[in-house]
């Protein structure tokens, strides 16, 4: 360690995607000395490969593409003079003490140790791949995760195939279905395990626009083709997601795209014992997105898989405010933490702990779609009516500090039919 060049910062932001850039910008605006590290050659995380529109409606009040959204933040970052390094990979985080952390990173100019008061961890997520979802058969070319396909097509300019089958009707899968169709490929099917589609309503429209068949309650079980994918075996499942014998059929295709969901990237956090919520896959956080290790904050898809980049950026800013508060007070000042619990039809929920000293955005996902529902927080008597809830669409709602303060112990969130 002592033979490594030493740097000193107030905040080290790990990850240069929307959460990380927003965090770095906000922290700099708050007067902190910030270093942002990213292992890509460019800033923006996955945004530069998301060449479709739909970004920034909440944040910038206009519709941007991913690269445009990233460019706005990158410009701001540079204007503010935030220190950043690309092609820089964090190798280790050490929790030296509650008030000092060490980040060791490697880059083309070598390895460094960074001493910092706080860390904002915004490393994003990874995609689930074919082996994780139990697909058997051959392992030739033509099997890609949706994000990998997107990188290859939209950053590297490679056309992957002609006849495409997509596993999963989440947003990335649907957007890639459109991308393939626009470039002249035939998208033969989107296969969805659940009885309802997984993407945002605006993305489900893609299926109709491009005449792409959607198979709900189906799964891909096998892929064949020695050098390259030739055909894909599909089977229908019942309401318990069990395969129904005799319903198997094959679709000829040269490309199989896996869009089976994202998993927060938390390896560096778990290595230092940060508590992980098994349902989100990300760290347990309080209302400033601080993890269970004091002074280590997290934001964006490494905490919870978001469907809108605007929420990701918002979480980054919140974490930066948390870092500022932490540095000013040598810790997050609070008298008590109120646990936010999941009730009926709530699958995921952050933050996990609320102080009642500030207003809080709650981000949640339901387990199953429902119409005409009420979102209730019974302990504090708060109720909200919604016409429809879907697992694909994140619920975001504000709890005011006065409301939170009413709770004696915990607060439960439940989504119940009216």
């Amino acid at each position: 360690m002592n033979d490594l060049p030493m740097l000193n910062y107030d905040v080290v932001v790990i990850g240069g995607g929307p959460a990380g850039m927003a965090a770095a910008v906000r922290a700099k605006e708050l007067g902190l000395k910030v270093l942002l590290l990213d292992d890509n050659d460019y800033l923006g995380g996955i945004l530069p490969q998301c060449i479709h529109p739909g970004f920034g409606l909440h944040y910038f009040k206009e519709e941007l593409t991913g690269p445009e959204f990233a460019a706005r933040f990158a410009k701001r970052l540079v204007e503010l003079g935030v220190d950043y390094r690309t092609a820089a990979r964090v190798l280790e985080i050490k929790n030296y003490s509650d008030l000092e952390k060490v980040v060791v990173f490697s880059s083309p100019s070598g390895a460094y140790q960074v001493w910092t008061k706080t860390i904002i961890y915004a490393a994003g997520a990874r995609e689930r791949h074919a082996f994780e979802i139990g697909i058997v058969g051959d392992r030739g070319a033509g099997i890609y995760t949706a994000g990998e396909a997107q990188t290859l097509m939209d950053i590297y300019g490679v056309m992957l195939g002609k006849e495409i089958v997509i596993v999963g009707s989440g947003d990335v899968g649907l957007i890639m279905a459109r991308r393939f169709a626009l470039e002249g490929a035939k998208v033969k099917a989107v296969i969805e395990l659940m009885p309802y589609p997984g993407g945002l309503a605006r993305n489900i429209m893609i299926l109709r626009d491009f005449d792409i068949p959607l198979y709900l309650s189906h799964k891909v079980v096998e892929v064949r083709g020695k050098e390259r994918v030739e055909r894909v075996k599909i089977v229908k499942v019942d309401e318990n997601l069990r395969e129904i014998p005799g319903t198997e059929f094959w679709i000829e295709a040269d490309t199989l795209i896996i869009s089976a969901g994202l998993v927060p990237s938390v390896k560096l956090l778990t290595a230092i014992g940060v508590e992980i919520d098994p349902t989100t896959g990300g760290p347990v956080v309080n209302d400033l997105f601080e993890t269970s290790v004091p002074g280590i904050f997290a934001a964006g898809n490494s905490v919870i898989i978001n469907d809108l980049v605007d929420y990701v950026a918002e979480q980054g800013e919140l974490a930066a405010e948390g870092a500022k508060l932490f540095i000013d007070n040598e810790g997050i000042p609070t008298r008590r933490w109120i646990k936010l619990e999941k009730g009926e039809n709530v699958r995921l929920l952050v933050p996990h702990y609320l102080s009642g000293e500030r207003d809080v955005w709650i981000y949640a996902r339901v387990s199953k779609p429902m119409e005409n529902v009420e979102v209730r927080f019974p302990e504090i008597g708060k109720k909200l009516r919604l016409p429809v809830v879907k697992p694909a669409e994140m619920l975001r709602m504000k709890l005011r500090k006065e409301e939170i303060a009413k709770a004696r112990d915990g607060i439960t969130m439940e989504v119940v039919p009216l």
Partner: protein
Amino acid sequence: MKTKVAIIGAGISGASIARVLSRYENLEVHLIEKAPDVGWGVSKANTALIHGGYDDDPKKYPMRAKLCIRGNRLWHQWVKELEIPHVWNGALIVATKEEDFDELEKLLERGRENGVPEMRIVDKEELFHLEPNLTKEAIGALWVPIVGQIGPIPAVIAIVENAVANGVKTHLETEVTGIKVENGEVKGVETKNGFIEADIVINAAGLYADEIARMAGIDYFEIHPRKGEYFLFDEGIPGPRRVLFPTPTPISKGIVVTTEISGHLMIGPNAQDLPPEEKENLATTREGLEQVWEGAKKLWPQLPPRSKVIRTFAGLRPEPTGGDFIIKAEEEVWGFINVAGIRSPGLTSAPAIAYEVAEIIRHDLGIELVEKRKWNPYRKEITHFFMLSPAQINEVVKRDPAYGKVICRCNRVSEGDVLEAIERMKFIGVKTPSVDSVKFRTKATTGTCQGSFCRPRIIQLLAREYGVGPWEVTLKGKGSEVGIGDVKVLFRGEDA
């Protein structure tokens, strides 16, 4: 005048033979392989074990019994000379029923006969001391300390690099179509890339050794594939410290539970016999994988959930007529040496097989072997970023900044590692850029995310270094190109 030797098949056997023969001044050695890279046949997918030499009955399978233990001892030296990733962690053959001890006693006896004195039977208490998380059903085990594990393809690569450094010529993507025999003597090998003259032809063609032998007019054996399937789990899942076998049955050594050298828990294989024509059938099956899961659970009850599986794969073992290795100079065709049916424990036996072949050349073909004055036994392992301390990173970065740039997140592989891999691919004659070639040299793409982040970057580096479009880069050789053209190829209406 030099004696020209053509070795067919650059798997673990062919490569080892090439290395051993590269030692001799008066041999000109050609290593012929139909795949784009070395080690992609039988050597590619197996349990990666250096067996203990105790389970092959010398009466039934004399070659296997003799070469396995000799191979094990040789590997202890070869892994050091060639810097091959390895671990000597020992094996436990676990008894769960009283009658299993009869079988273990038999193995112990056979081991002693075969020259493995260091084995012994351990009781329940010592067993759980050696392996605390073993099934509670276990009542004792045979402990074989000399068992180890290596990276099988890294081993083939290391051996071939060393052989090439010592003068061996490789011919990759060179499929053999015939063996030229005149007046009962071999004259050379016909290939899709032309004729390669040879005085000695060594048939180390793995699953295809029977077909190659038939090209020389030798048809007394047949090879059929036996498929084995495997699960590999994500890192961080606790696995056993030693290689765990169930007590074997007359048919099979059973499903192994082990922590492979990269630290991942691995289980497998089952055994499914396929007809001789299915030598390319590497598809995993649900039935096979289910067998493996059930089998492994008996030894290691705390298997992680299926969502922690990062890869399933299948390998094929070449099962010969008769079951024993076929290693001999064929009398009716002078100069034709079969190294066929190298099924398990083939990986273990490979170095011993190579010396056996050298001995056959000397003794049976009567060719005096003249040692080179300067033969280099050493080969340096590729730089692995994940093995460097941060201070060492700063050293290598001075040499080339690419070594500081991590491109595979899960396994910490740097761009420098990948560029070095590409350089080494070119050194041994790899003509078609493939992601697998980089994967086997660097471990990139084999971690938790299975390459979804780093594969595009590797494709780009391969495209640049080989001077081709990224869509022309292959996953594993011709026919597995990653794309069909540039992104507008279909849009323009050109059918790629």
